[in-house]
């Protein structure tokens, strides 16, 4: 299945791209997707998450699933889903 991942703000700088389409062999949860991305993009990417295991997301990271705020990382992704990684840090 294919999942679109979109990177905003510092995620964009770390990853070096605005978005990508990931082809996955099997269904994964949002948490599992984060672990895949952490493996792929290394320490700097991991450091953005307080809990590098990917089970929880802390701090000011905001994950959107098809535009809606995802607070449960156990949600199973479907083919064609769009996951956005951004921040809700203060400012503006």
């Amino acid at each position: 299945m294919k999942v679109i991942v979109e990177y905003l703000l510092r995620f964009r700088e770390i990853v070096g791209k605005e978005s990508e389409v990931l082809s996955l062999d099997k269904e994964v949860t949002i948490g599992q997707l984060l672990r895949i991305l952490q493996e792929r993009y290394g320490e700097q990417f991991k450091e953005e998450f307080y809990n590098p295991s990917g089970d929880q997301v802390g701090g000011n990271i905001l994950i959107l699933l098809n535009g809606k705020t995802a607070t449960n990382l156990n949600i199973r992704l479907k083919d064609g889903d769009r996951v956005t990684l951004t921040y809700v840090a203060f400012g503006g």
Binding site: L9, R10, K68, A89, G91
Partner: protein, 629 residues
């Protein structure tokens, strides 16, 4: 004086007599009101009679600092202007960055109080102990950048920091801005039209140079605090790189970006104007205000199209919202050009954008004709029309330019035909770029704000953007508490005068231990959170009393939300269906009044609350005025 950090002096200038008086800042004023907004509210209460017109010479303009200006406390490169707003008719404060706040402190003053009206245009020169009121006839009519250039040349030292007004204020545009040019960029005390009050006093500019050191109680503590916060700033996910435009893409994805006069909250052109797009393409410099390790100031230059070569500060997120998504314009060049003109002429970009968006909707609905726009196709998305309207407003050109210069509330009353329904303001102040529908708490926050449509009277979005849509857009639970807490936090940060960009490091919700620590390190006097909360309550209550004294009460809060917010759901996007029904608004308002200790029927602070907060002088006055029995 036992407190460090302060200059210990208030400068009072009467422009009619050119009389200058220097008064001591007392310990009791500091303990009761801290500085900045708190101090200014107290001075304003004492010095200005109720119910006067903003353009009456008896109205005053206060330029104030807080205890931290001139120190290394991060985010202390601020200053605050206070007056009665010609836009809202209310007590009003407008905060600016740059360097002039700290400079005023170094010149030896905590605040400058300007009263009266000069017979002809003047500017004030504060050079340490020397204060001079000079002729400014040759500056009248000049843009802000030109004014800055002439003044620094005249004074022979570019170290003079200057704030000035432009042609928009001279033309008494009700949302004119005080500009602090620091070329190639500038900073602005933009909101509420205090620049026009300066113009009504024939005051073109204030130039300040100071050579004194600001003493702090715990020098090592302040230095170590600076390093600690600087390290956190380095990790901020967007402000150092993208500045405030960094939030635009995310807010659009959350379905809360005011678009085409809030007819929707998803802007299809957002990708073209968000920070991640414009900064890599157009940024020419990263800048910072005094004592700021964050450095969110960005300078951009348009590289292509009709407006190629335009250099502008930012534009900030709020400007990209007001001149961009609100007007449906996604051409960065046109937005940058309009923003630059606002800086040159001295206009508030938020109010300018909102009032132009209002006119665009009225034009598209056939309420304003092409004859009335003098041939201009005033449609959403028309960048040339946007730039043209900024010109017309600043110089009050034509019927429409002259009318829009009055602000959206007055303009909609004149235009009529139901246009009040889509006049997007709270209490006469055009709505800032944080949604009162996608973030329901904001409907309350703007409505109980003393300024109305300002995103700095409360700060619920700092908390609510993290919440799922069900919580932030479809629930009233706990919203009054968030608003009440963030209002108290704002009271402390506006009185210390620290930049709101540091809110998350100093306390995102309530007055915090960090605020107390800052005060202790700077002043040497112990403060605890409980005292800070009480002081914040005192300041907010006093400002409420300034509103009450001028005749405002619960009905003005009840009438604050624009009908579009109360009756029209967001039509699309992540926050689709969200609006704040009158019933939901009433639930939140009632709870806020309970928390603030305001009477549920009148909105006037209760007698026991005034006494608890040591506002006995207000009680006495209110009894004389018949407001309290």
């Amino acid at each position: 004086m036992v407190f460090k950090g302060y200059a210990g002096q208030i400068l009072k200038i009467d422009l009619l007599t050119k009389g200058v008086v220097k008064e001591a800042l007392t310990d009791s004023l500091i303990k009761g009101y801290i500085g900045g907004l708190g101090l200014a509210a107290k001075l304003y209460y004492d010095l200005v009679p109720p119910r006067i017109d903003p353009y009456d010479p008896a109205n005053i303009v206060i330029f104030t600092t807080g205890p931290v200006q001139g120190t290394l406390i991060p985010g202390s490169g601020r200053g605050l202007f206070i007056s009665k707003s010609p836009l809202t008719g209310r007590f009003f404060n407008s905060n600016l960055g740059g360097f002039i706040g700290p400079e005023l402190k170094r010149a030896g003053y905590d605040a400058v109080v300007i009263s009266g009206r000069a017979e002809k245009p003047v500017y004030i020169v504060i050079d340490d102990g020397s204060v001079e009121v000079r002729d400014a006839s040759h500056l009248w009519g000049k843009t802000t950048y030109e004014t800055h250039k002439v003044i620094t040349e005249e004074l022979g030292d570019p170290k003079f920091q200057v704030v000035c007004i432009g042609p928009a204020a001279e033309n008494l545009v009700r949302f004119s801005a005080i500009i602090h040019p620091t070329p190639p960029e500038c900073h602005a005390a933009g909101r509420g039209g205090i620049a026009s009050v300066m113009a009504s006093k024939n005051l073109k500019a204030i130039a300040v140079r100071g050579g004194k050191e600001v003493e702090v109680a715990d020098r090592d503590g302040v230095i170590s605090f600076f390093k600690e916060i600087a390290e956190k700033c380095r990790k901020h996910p967007f402000l150092p790189t993208y500045g405030t435009p960094g939030v635009l893409g995310t807010i659009n994805k959350l379905g809360g970006l005011g678009t085409r006069n809030w007819q929707t909250e998803v802007f299809e052109g957002a990708d073209k104007i968000r920070g991640e797009t414009i900064m890599p393409k157009y940024k020419i410099a990263d800048k910072a205000c005094a004592s700021c390790p964050m450095g969110c100031v960005k300078v951009t230059k348009v590289t292509e199209g009709k407006w190629a070569g335009t250099v502008v500060k930012g534009p900030e997120y709020e400007t990209l919202y007001a001149l961009g998504s609100m007007t449906g314009v996604d051409d960065f060049g046109a937005i940058a050009r309009a923003s630059r003109l606002c800086d040159e002429y001295g206009l508030d970009t938020i109010s300018a954008g909102v009032v132009i968006a209002f006119a665009m909707e009225a034009f598209e609905r056939g309420i304003i004709s092409k004859e009335e726009t003098e041939g201009l196709e005033l449609r959403f998305g028309n960048g040339d029309a946007l730039v043209e309207m900024v010109e017309r407003i600043a110089f009050r050109k034509g019927w429409l330019g002259n009318l829009l210069a009055e602000g959206v509330a007055r303009a909609s009353q004149v235009i009529g035909c139901g246009s009040q329904y889509f006049a997007m303001h709270f209490k006469g102040l055009e709505l800032a770029g944080h949604s009162p529908r996608a973030v329901k708490a904001w409907t309350l926050g703007y409505s109980v704000g003393w300024r109305g449509g300002s995103h700095h009277d409360a700060r619920p979005h700092d908390i609510e953007y993290a919440n799922p849509v069900e919580v932030r857009a479809f629930s009233t639970e706990g919203k009054a508490e968030i608003i009440y807490d963030t209002v108290l936090r704002v009271m402390i940060e506006e009185s210390l005068i620290t930049c709101r960009m540091y809110g998350g490091y100093y306390g995102v919700r309530t007055p915090s231990e960090t605020h107390a620590k800052i005060l202790k390190m700077v002043t040497g006097v112990e403060w605890n959170v409980e005292e800070l909360v009480k002081t914040a309550r005192r300041i907010r209550t006093l400002i409420r009393c300034l509103e009450v004294r001028d005749g405002f009460d619960i009905k003005d809060d009840l009438n604050a939300p624009p009908p579009r917010i109360l009756y029209e759901p967001i039509p699309e996007g992540t926050s689709k269906g969200a609006y704040t029904s009158p019933k939901e608004f009433m639930i939140m308002l009632k709870r806020f009044y309970e928390l603030a200790g305001w009477d549920l029927k009148t909105g006037i602070p209760k007698l026991e609350v005034l006494k608890e907060l040591n506002l006995d002088y207000v009680v006495e006055d209110f009894k004389k005025l018949g407001i309290l029995k």
